[in-house]
């Protein structure tokens, strides 16, 4: 699974503080800061459409990050992530509509509430192994979606719930161009938070639970506590992402948050690389952009022989699902460490360039 980042020869770590810095090298830190600064100009440069895609990558990236804590770091699977995402969306919409709380605060509150719900469903799995957690989260997915479809007071039932636009006290942000910065702030904060978590005692405990839970328990790690904690964290980030999604779309409905969406979140984690924080973002971008690529391909083929034989354009949704499924399988069989691993290999290749072998 997660392999340590490749450190250039001659870079010796002589103290624990140096070994656990967030960025392994100065260059990587500068590159990350530069990347964030550059992306701040995105709203001025990109078209509305691509900006909305970028916002989606950010929102799903936060949800996928939560799932990666569970799948990549703790070694458990959840196929109910979409339900928690949706729960966060409904909660934030509900809080900001019914209480005099500005959206600025309702997003973190939604995260906390979702985390609590996640913990309730995670409790039976806390004393069980991965397989049983999968099944418990499967049940969570169905139970939560059923709850949304019947709880009219909370989610509007069959009518989609409306959410307010993002506001701090009296100042309201309008449109994607302003909302982009909110998402960006949340993405940067959550990625820093998780990177930081992973170099703390708790983060190492999670990894220990994944790698060998019996040894971990013998070393004094409380299995129940850390399994539940990782489940709560996953739900927390799903809730935050869901809330961000709600205040971006301004309407939230049950539609499209079935088990397929949960599989999509898993796809992001697996394609990006289980146990790789930056990989999660790469995987999310990949999964968000696959439909775009497919649309482009089908437009290119439009009217051609293949198009007529297979009726590509009419069935684009199904083709998308097939493509995502096949990509997951291909990654698991051929590249289990995901894009993050591929990226590291490319980096080493160039670092060592003409003598790469």
């Amino acid at each position: 699974m997660a392999s340590p980042s490749l450190i250039p020869a001659g870079d010796f770590r002589s103290s624990y503080a140096v070994d656990t810095t967030i960025f392994p090298t100065k260059t990587s830190r500068n590159a990350a800061i530069l990347g964030v600064v550059l992306i701040c100009f995105a709203p001025q440069l990109l078209s509305e459409y691509w900006l909305s895609q970028l916002i989606m990558i950010g929102i799903y990236g936060i949800a996928a990050l939560g799932l990666n804590i569970l799948v990549g770091f703790t070694g458990q699977i959840s196929i109910g992530h979409a339900a928690f995402f949706l729960f966060g969306a409904f909660t934030s919409a509900y809080i900001s509509n019914n209480y005099p709380i500005p959206v600025f605060f309702s997003i973190p509150i939604a995260g906390v509430v979702t985390a609590i719900v996640g913990l309730i469903f995670g409790l039976p799995a806390a004393r069980l192994k991965g397989l049983y957690l999968v099944i418990a989260t499967l049940a969570a997915q169905y139970i939560l979606l059923d709850f949304f479809s019947r709880a009219d007071w909370f989610s509007g039932g069959s009518v989609p719930a409306t959410a307010k636009a993002f506001s701090i006290f009296d100042h309201t942000l309008r449109g994607d161009r302003q909302y982009f910065y909110v998402v960006l702030a949340y993405v940067v904060a959550s990625y820093l938070l998780v990177t930081n978590l992973m170099r703390s005692r708790d983060g190492r405990a999670l990894v220990a639970v994944r790698d060998h839970y019996l040894s971990a328990e013998i070393m004094g790690i409380n299995l129940t506590k850390y399994r539940t904690l990782s489940f709560g964290l996953a739900a927390f980030f799903a809730g935050i992402a869901g809330a961000l999604y709600a205040h971006n779309q301004l309407v939230v409905s049950n539609e499209g948050f079935g088990i397929e969406r949960s599989i999509l979140f898993l796809a992001m984690v697996i394609i990006g690389g289980t146990g790789s924080i930056m990989g999660t973002l790469m995987g999310t971008a990949f999964v968000v952009l696959v439909p775009e690529a497919m649309e482009w391909i089908s437009m290119e083929l439009k009217g051609g022989v293949i198009d007529k034989a297979l009726a590509l354009n009419n069935n684009l949704t199904f083709l998308r699902e097939i493509a995502i499924g096949l990509i997951i399988i291909a990654f698991l069989v051929f590249e289990p460490d995901g894009l993050a691993h591929r990226w590291r290999q490319i980096k080493t290749y160039w670092k060592l360039y003409p003598f790469s072998h």
Partner: protein
């Protein structure tokens, strides 16, 4: 209280429950023999039903010929999945294997919608459907047929594992792969056979459901309902799967009765099994008949 209605629902529950039992049985077969949790079980059911439907309507094959052809196809298909997709993953972490079957189910689900469309298709009349009256109950003959087929398959499965050479080889492999191998059992072949048989049994269940309700992508819900059944019965117990399936089927219909008579919540029967699932996981995670996993270091 409406006793007539309750009885009718319980009979339905028994019929659906035995079908759940059959699907759960084929799920447990794969889990026991190959340690793979198959999230694509429902899709196997669906593929079987669609293949049979195609043979019967598109190619006008008579049912007595179409059914064996479906079974042969599913046999080959099961082996194909195991060899091409799951064999490279032997020895990988459980998570990867689970993920692959989840992805497989997504692929099959979408591919079938692509090929056959989203609308349900009526299955050609295989039996002349009429209802028999037993006591005060009206029971359709297709239900009786479904019950008979399910029970026959359960008996067949019991015979297979108790007596036949292949069944014994499978049980040996499930018990301990290395010992089985040293006794001359080809574990590879056993894995492939487990998938092949499981696919065949699922296909029979799929065709039975299709005869009763028509074919649609909704059939794959049987693959999801399998989880409450197998968790209730115990993940690695074939008998438990059957019992679990029947209990879940009865419970579902009982929930519908409570719902329509007293609560009026609507579609309670769809989620009731999942509440049961959570409760079982909390109090008795290894189910009624499952072996408790004791780990030694």
């Amino acid at each position: 209280m409406n006793t007539q209605f309750l009885l009718q629902l319980l009979v339905n529950g028994l019929v659906v429950g035995t079908l759940y039992g059959v699907v759960a049985m084929s799920f447990v077969l794969i889990y026991k023999a190959t340690q793979v949790v198959n999230f694509a079980q429902g899709e196997l059911l669906l593929i079987g039903a669609w293949v049979c439907w195609t043979l019967l309507t598109k190619y006008q094959v008579p049912f007595w010929l179409g059914m064996p052809m479906t079974l042969v196809f599913m046999f080959a298909f099961g082996i194909l999945i195991q060899v091409v997709i799951l064999r490279p993953l032997v020895g990988e972490p459980v998570i990867s294997v689970i993920m692959v079957t989840i992805a497989l189910s997504a692929v099959f689900q979408a591919a079938l919608k692509w090929i056959y469309g989203v609308n349900p298709q009526p299955f050609p009349r295989v039996f002349t459907s009429q209802s028999v009256t037993i006591g005060s109950l009206q029971i359709q003959t297709v239900y009786v047929m479904s019950l008979v087929v399910s029970v026959a398959m359960m008996i067949g499965m019991a015979w297979f594992f108790k007596v036949s050479k292949w069944g014994l080889a499978m049980r040996a492999t499930a018990f301990n792969q290395q010992v089985a191998q040293s006794l001359g059992i080809s574990v590879k072949t056993v894995f492939a056979m487990a998938w092949a048989i499981s696919a065949m049994v699922s296909a029979v269940a799929g065709v039975v459901v299709a005869v009763v309700n028509g074919v649609s992508s909704g059939l794959s819900i049987y693959g999801i309902k399998v989880f409450p059944a197998v968790i209730l019965g115990g993940l690695d117990s074939i008998g438990g799967a059957v019992v679990g399936g029947i209990i879940i089927g009865l419970l579902e219909n009982f929930a519908q009765f409570i719902d329509s008579e007293y609560l009026h919540w609507g579609n309670l029967y769809e989620v009731a099994p999942f509440y049961v699932l959570i409760i079982i996981l909390m109090i008795k995670p290894y189910g009624l008949f499952g072996t408790k996993d004791i780990e030694r270091v």
